[in-house]
């Protein structure tokens, strides 16, 4: 029997159907300096060009043998479209991800432009998805992501105002989060409408390093349930930072899979959730791909698999300035050590 295509492998993983080997992919950005240099461009140029965005994703996947491509890369596209701006750091040395320069300073300032989907760089991301869908020709799975309602709120409104508001202006903040939920659904459904093969909701600012499990239950859970009930499968919930205390509530949100970072005790999470839940994670992308000696990578990846993930995902975006030999070791180890069945997904 012929080996599966990358796209088939990813699709079947999310359906929990048997696959030939664990796929190598992610729900966060996977653009690398090796691809950027091969294209002869700079990182800062990618953010405003659909062609560069799509090609850098494809080139990265081809160089390293990934099973998927994913866009966008930065977290400012929606805030920028809503008038909050985007700092692209076009003249900075090295790689800096875009940031939002002018968040709303009070809840009273919040005003959503109903035409935001056509503003700023939103059309660039749309075109990048279209290019990936047409040029990957079924070779790679095409993924996308949107920030979750709570994290999106923190990208649009000053974080201290949001966090203090959770206690001081609870009703107002709840209303704002509800608006964010509708916004997230609109963007995620739009990308699904463009044909992406999987959708990751990154509620990355809601770990228990920041808010309590009690507050998470009150202000994050319901909104995520609304998001996931509005989206078609495959849909993933990713939260980075501390998630041990909320992993069971994460599993109540209605996602097909959960993604966590290196702070999660995956062995323990697997015990709590059982073998039927798709669990993705959880290596430190910067430490493992950019800092570590290549000889140490294999043991990190094997530990993720031994702890019980169904696919080895980085805990965040791959930092573009990574070592090629480390990524090669990551891919090689997944292909070899991931031949055996994982807890939720069998092998053909």
């Amino acid at each position: 029997m012929d080996a599966m295509t990358s796209k088939e492998r990813v699709e079947k993983l999310f359906k929990k159907e048997p696959i030939d080997v664990m796929p190598v992919f992610s729900g966060q950005g996977m653009v690398t300096i090796q691809a950027i240099e091969k294209m002869g461009i700079r990182f800062a140029q990618i953010h405003t060009s659909a062609e560069y965005m799509a090609r850098s994703a494809m080139t990265t996947a081809e160089i390293f043998g990934f099973d998927a491509v994913i866009v966008p890369y930065d977290m400012c596209t929606v805030p920028e479209a809503l008038g909050r701006g985007a700092s692209l750091y076009e003249n900075a040395d090295g790689i800096l991800y875009p940031t939002v320069p002018s968040k709303w300073k009070t809840l009273d300032e919040v005003e959503l432009d109903s035409e935001f989907m056509s503003k700023g760089r939103m059309p660039v991301v749309d075109d990048a998805i279209r290019i990936l869908k047409s040029s990957s020709d079924g070779k790679f799975a095409v993924g996308s992501w949107v920030l979750g309602p709570f994290t999106m709120a923190g990208q649009l409104l000053e974080l201290d105002v949001l966090l203090k508001g959770l206690k001081k202006e609870k009703e107002k903040v709840e209303g704002f989060l509800s608006t964010m939920t509708d916004l997230v659904i609109e963007v995620a459904k739009h990308y699904q409408g463009l044909g992406v093969d999987y959708m990751n909701i990154r509620e990355m600012g809601s770990g228990t390093d920041i808010i309590s499990p009690r507050m998470w239950k009150m202000l994050v859970l319901d909104n995520l349930q609304k998001v996931f009930s509005a989206l078609r499968s495959p849909k993933i919930l990713h939260i980075c930072g501390s998630t041990d205390m909320i992993i069971e509530m994460m599993n109540d949100c209605g996602a097909d899979a959960l993604s966590v970072d290196q702070k999660n005790n995956v062995g323990e999470s697997r015990r709590k959730l059982g073998d039927d839940v798709l669990l993705l994670g959880n290596f430190d992308p910067y430490g493992t791909m950019a800092k570590m000696d290549a000889s140490e990578v294999e043991s990190v990846i094997k530990k993720c698999i031994d702890d019980g993930v169904d696919a080895v995902w980085p805990g965040c975006d791959l930092w573009p300035e990574l070592k090629k030999e480390n990524v090669d070791a990551y891919v090689r180890t997944v292909r070899e050590y991931g031949k055996k069945a994982s807890p939720a997904v069998g092998r053909i």
């Binding site: 940031t99 966090l163 203090k164 206690k167 228990t208 920041i210 808010i211």
Partner: protein, 224 residues
């Protein structure tokens, strides 16, 4: 009630006001401290700041989270704003003339941790030059030279922006090797601090100021 008894009661009320996130109580108690003629610096350090130390412990124990931390800080500032104009210069010691440049490095817009550290410097009597967040690296060098500050405190919330700190340390040390540089933020460890050639490491808000005072004392020993 004797003066010592009154002092103890008001210090406890100030500490409780911070821990309970009660801005009104912090203001009222601070006003009482002034009305009773008690020492303002004592009230700040052993009342308000002592409360913030308890808040730090509650955060470490996962009883308090960031929203609680921010509201405790608001209560502390409510008291500090009243008490600070009444501090006697002789109470301040080493930190009296201490100046610190503080900011979050370029590419990083997370400033909650930086603002808590800034508050602790203010509590301890330092003059703080806050550059804000997403600060271009050379701006730290310029501001240190402009203000002749003893300390530059750099914050980064992300591993990836932390790398910018290394460049700032090099740039400042080239221009003025006597400046003490302190690093802090989620990804920063003692090892990173050593590797980047910085002088101090803020593990927590409480530790940042103690470390800063130690750094200033060391510098002044060297300069004698």
């Amino acid at each position: 009630m004797g003066k010592e008894e009154l002092r103890n009661e008001l210090l406890k009320d100030l500490s409780d006001a911070v821990v309970d996130m009660d801005e009104d109580k912090a203001k009222e108690t601070s006003q009482r401290v002034l009305d009773e003629g008690l020492n303002a610096y004592d009230a700040i350090m052993n009342g308000l700041a002592a409360g913030m130390v308890i808040v730090g412990e509650l955060y470490d124990k996962h009883e308090y989270f960031v929203p609680e931390l921010l509201m405790c800080a608001d209560a502390l500032y409510a008291g500090l704003d009243l008490l600070k104009p009444h501090i006697k210069p002789e109470d301040l010691g080493e930190s009296a003339k201490g100046q610190v440049v503080i900011g979050t490095v370029q590419g990083d817009v997370h400033d909650i941790g930086k603002n808590i550290i800034k508050m602790m410097f203010e509590v301890a009597g330092f003059t703080v030059h806050d550059l804000g967040r997403d600060v271009p690296l050379e701006k730290f060098v310029e501001e240190q030279m402009r203000t002749d500050s003893d300390i530059v405190a750099l914050s980064a919330m992300m591993t990836t922006t932390m790398m910018g700190m290394k460049k700032v340390v090099q740039m400042i040390k080239e221009k003025n090797p006597d400046v003490a540089i302190m690093l802090g933020g989620a990804p920063v460890t003692k090892d990173v601090t050593d590797l980047f050639g910085a002088d101090g490491y803020a593990e927590s808000a409480g530790n940042a100021v103690q470390e800063a005072i130690k750094m200033i004392s060391r510098l002044r020993e060297i300069q004698k």
